[in-house]
């Protein structure tokens, strides 16, 4: 049950689209429609049962302004609805909805995130996320930024390239049991270590796939959660923090913002059984796990994580959905979900979810 006197709010339903490299048959609205149908039918409700809607997406994937506007047509916001949008991963849309549910005037919310990375060139698009005066003009691509971070880990003696490969091997193997995974395989570490570098020290297996996808979650408060779900995944703590932007001004081998958010969310106030971490590049999982203070006995990314599918703007929300699913299916009692945004883990959100 929640800490800090917060109103109890739970994840009661989760759905995601198939994660694919290039969705050629459906636009964003068409991708979202079956996701909404599933997230509602899972618990036998309709859009009329939620009092607030919040989404996360970015115009830069679609290459046009207001890409979130047409997504509303997948819901059909008529009569008019109380609705909001963040230019952030859907995990932060969930945070806004959680805040909104604290006030007691509404009992349920729909949150979603979506994006088709295939419509643009991610290596160019994500470069535009960097400081527009001193960094973006150099067009640093996201793989090179991640390589800088991985190199810092190696130089600091905090990890080896073998550690990176182990993360990738474990994640892709776990992904074999995730029907939504885009990349899944059973390959040993030695074989992965034989791959060529993409950008040293990152080999192909350390990189996330490029993914088109979408996800949605229904949140419910108090009695409503029990009415709709047999085992609601109660959000007992949630917080997010940001660090400075400049890569040169941060310790890239640690994640101070994750640690701070974990403290506020109360990650270590109990035993963590499962953690779903949003670490698009394999070395980042080591950084996030250390920042959260997770022990060796924690099952990390049973879904395969972002290495199995990385739909920009919903990959973080999917971590919350996957972690909540472990509570809802009865396989775990206390789990942690993490979402990240910005270059080299600049901004991080941490949530703790528990069964009753």
């Amino acid at each position: 049950m929640p800490r800090q006197g917060h109103r109890p709010v739970a994840v009661v339903s989760f759905a995601q689209a198939d994660n694919v490299r290039r969705e050629l048959r459906r636009n964003e609205v068409e991708t979202l429609m079956p996701v909404f149908a599933e997230v509602f039918s899972n618990i036998g409700i309709t859009k009329d049962d939620v009092g607030f809607i919040c989404s996360g997406s970015t115009d830069y994937l679609a290459g046009g302004p207001f890409s979130f506007v047409s997504a509303l047509d997948a819901i059909g916001v008529w009569p008019p609805r109380t609705e909001s949008h963040v230019e952030m991963d859907g995990a932060w849309a969930l945070y806004e909805a959680w805040v909104r549910l604290q006030e007691g005037d509404i009992d349920a919310a729909l949150v979603y995130g979506f994006g088709k990375s295939s419509m643009s060139d991610l290596s160019k698009v994500l470069a535009l996320q960097l400081d527009p005066y001193v960094l973006a003009p150099l067009w640093p691509d996201p793989v090179s930024v991640a390589a800088l971070q991985a190199r810092s880990l190696l130089d600091a003696g905090k990890a080896t390239e073998r550690d990176f490969a182990e993360v990738a091997a474990r994640s892709r193997k776990a992904a074999l049991s995730n029907p939504k995974a885009q990349v899944a395989y059973d390959r040993n570490v030695a074989e992965l270590m034989g791959e060529d570098y993409v950008v040293s020290p990152l080999r192909t297996h350390t990189l996330p796939p490029i993914t088109d996808g979408a996800a949605a979650i229904v949140l419910a408060a108090g009695d409503k959660a029990f009415e709709w779900a047999e085992r609601p995944a109660w959000i007992t703590g949630i917080d997010h923090r940001v660090e400075t932007h400049s890569l040169g001004a941060r310790d890239l081998t640690a994640s101070a913002s994750t640690t701070k958010a974990a403290e506020v969310a109360g990650v270590n106030d109990g035993t963590v059984e499962v953690a779903e971490l949003h670490a698009p590049f394999a070395p980042q999982e080591l950084i996030v796990a250390a920042a959260l203070g997770l022990g060796d006995d924690v099952l990390v990314n049973p879904s395969g994580g972002a290495l199995a599918a990385n739909p920009i703007m919903s990959a973080g929300l999917i971590r919350i959905g996957e972690a909540a699913s472990r509570i809802m299916d009865g396989s775990a009692g206390r789990v942690v979900a993490h979402a990240t945004s910005g270059p080299a883990l600049q901004q991080n959100l941490v949530a703790v979810l528990e069964g009753v």
Partner: protein, 390 residues
């Protein structure tokens, strides 16, 4: 439980066509520092930052809040980015207010900005989209047919829009932060300006501005501390609401959208307002094209449907002599840093009920409405502020 929320500090930049004296970070800091100073607090007293702006393509920076985090004192804190089209400045203030009313934070800094001179909004609004009909005419081209429909429906005379254009620019002369200061503005000058999108003349359209707005939202406790420290009264939130509806479907009334009517009804119910024209002392309403004043007068229930233009014509909405002054600051028609334009509406009513609006102050203003809209007249954000603690 819902806690009380107040605006305890407000700040804005001088809005101009080109603020090439500052970076984007410099621009937002200018507004933020003024808001902090007004609230009598420093960066360390701020618990979280909520930032809003219109499409990222307006500057060419994807999710600029990441780069702006250190400039806004957000390192180690939560920073949150809102984007709800043109209503975003208002929505940003509301998201910040909910962080306080939910009891999560004591003081939240809300910031909104646009540096339009970094790009070309007309271009950014007109990028062809796959699967969508191209809109190659910018916002004015989109809204002009709605205005013509309003004129036909209401029988309004053709000069009503020009009257709004003159009134708002005369009011802007009393606002030192306004982008447009046109001391010679007249009906003739508006009529002789080039016709952009019939019936909108050049001077009936908003300018393109660089600018930012910021407010510190505080709890009950933060409000009394700010008042004790600065001697300035807080502006209390009496109601807040948002509504969205789809862009288009058969039967949608784009002239008098239901989302706007529903949003107003919600916010009036929270504030206990039944007759907006007599109960509000003033309003700041998003009027980017002159004719949206009479259209929103009707949508917001200040008069019966079809009568909005009559209020404008008789001067009811003028600061000088009107009973319900609208856009005393000069409004969007005088300053339009798009992402901040909605927040400026919300901020200006805070100034009014705090008695801090200077030359454009409405004497004794106690209760006021701030409204912002966006998209194809489909996203609405509103709040009611009062000088009395609710």
């Amino acid at each position: 439980m819902s806690e009380r929320v107040a605006v305890i500090g407000a700040g804005q930049t001088h809005h101009k066509a080109k603020r090439d004296d500052v970076s984007i970070a410099g621009l937002v800091r200018e507004a933020a520092l003024r808001a902090l100073e007004d609230a009598g607090v420093g960066w360390k007293e701020i618990d979280a930052v909520v930032i809003g702006k219109a499409p990222d393509m307006f500057e060419g920076v994807m999710m600029p809040e990441l780069y702006l985090a250190p400039a806004l004192g957000a390192v180690g804190k939560p920073i949150f980015r809102v984007h709800t089209a043109g209503s975003v400045g208002g929505s940003t203030a509301l998201v910040a207010a909910h962080l306080v009313s939910s009891g999560i934070h004591q003081r939240v800094l809300s910031v909104a900005f646009e540096k339009q001179s970094d790009s070309d909004a007309m271009w950014a609004l007109s990028v062809p989209q796959p699967f969508s009909a191209p809109l190659l005419a910018g916002a004015g081209g989109y809204f002009a047919p709605h205005i013509r429909a309003y004129m036909r429906r209401s029988g309004a005379p053709r000069d009503i829009g020009m009257k709004v254009a003159v009134k708002d620019r005369l009011q802007a002369l009393k606002n030192p932060y306004a982008h447009l200061h046109l001391p010679d503005i007249s009906l003739q000058m508006v009529e002789e300006s080039i016709m952009l999108w019939d019936p909108l003349h050049y001077l009936e359209a908003c300018p393109s501005s660089d600018g930012a707005a910021a407010m510190v939202l505080g709890s009950d406790k933060a409000a009394s501390e700010a008042q004790a420290a600065t001697g300035r009264r807080p502006a209390w939130v009496h109601g807040m609401a948002m509504r969205s509806e789809p862009t288009m479907f058969a039967g949608r009334d784009q002239i008098n959208p239901q989302a706007g009517r529903d949003c107003a009804k919600d916010v009036y119910a929270q504030a206990g307002v039944s007759d907006p024209r007599s109960e509000f002392d003033c309003a700041e309403v998003y009027v980017p094209f002159s004719w949206y004043e009479p259209m929103w007068l009707e949508n917001l229930g200040f008069c019966a449907e079809g009568d909005g233009w009559k209020l404008t014509e008789e001067g009811a909405t003028a600061l000088d002599g009107g009973d319900i002054p609208w856009n005393c600051s000069g409004g969007v028609l005088s300053s339009n840093p798009i992402g901040a334009s909605g927040m400026l509406r919300f901020l200006e009513v805070a100034l009014q009920v705090r008695g801090e609006a200077g030359e454009h102050q409405v004497d004794g203003a106690r209760l006021a409405l701030g409204q912002a809209y966006g998209g194809g007249s489909q996203f609405f954000a509103m709040w009611v502020l009062g000088s009395e603690r609710p």
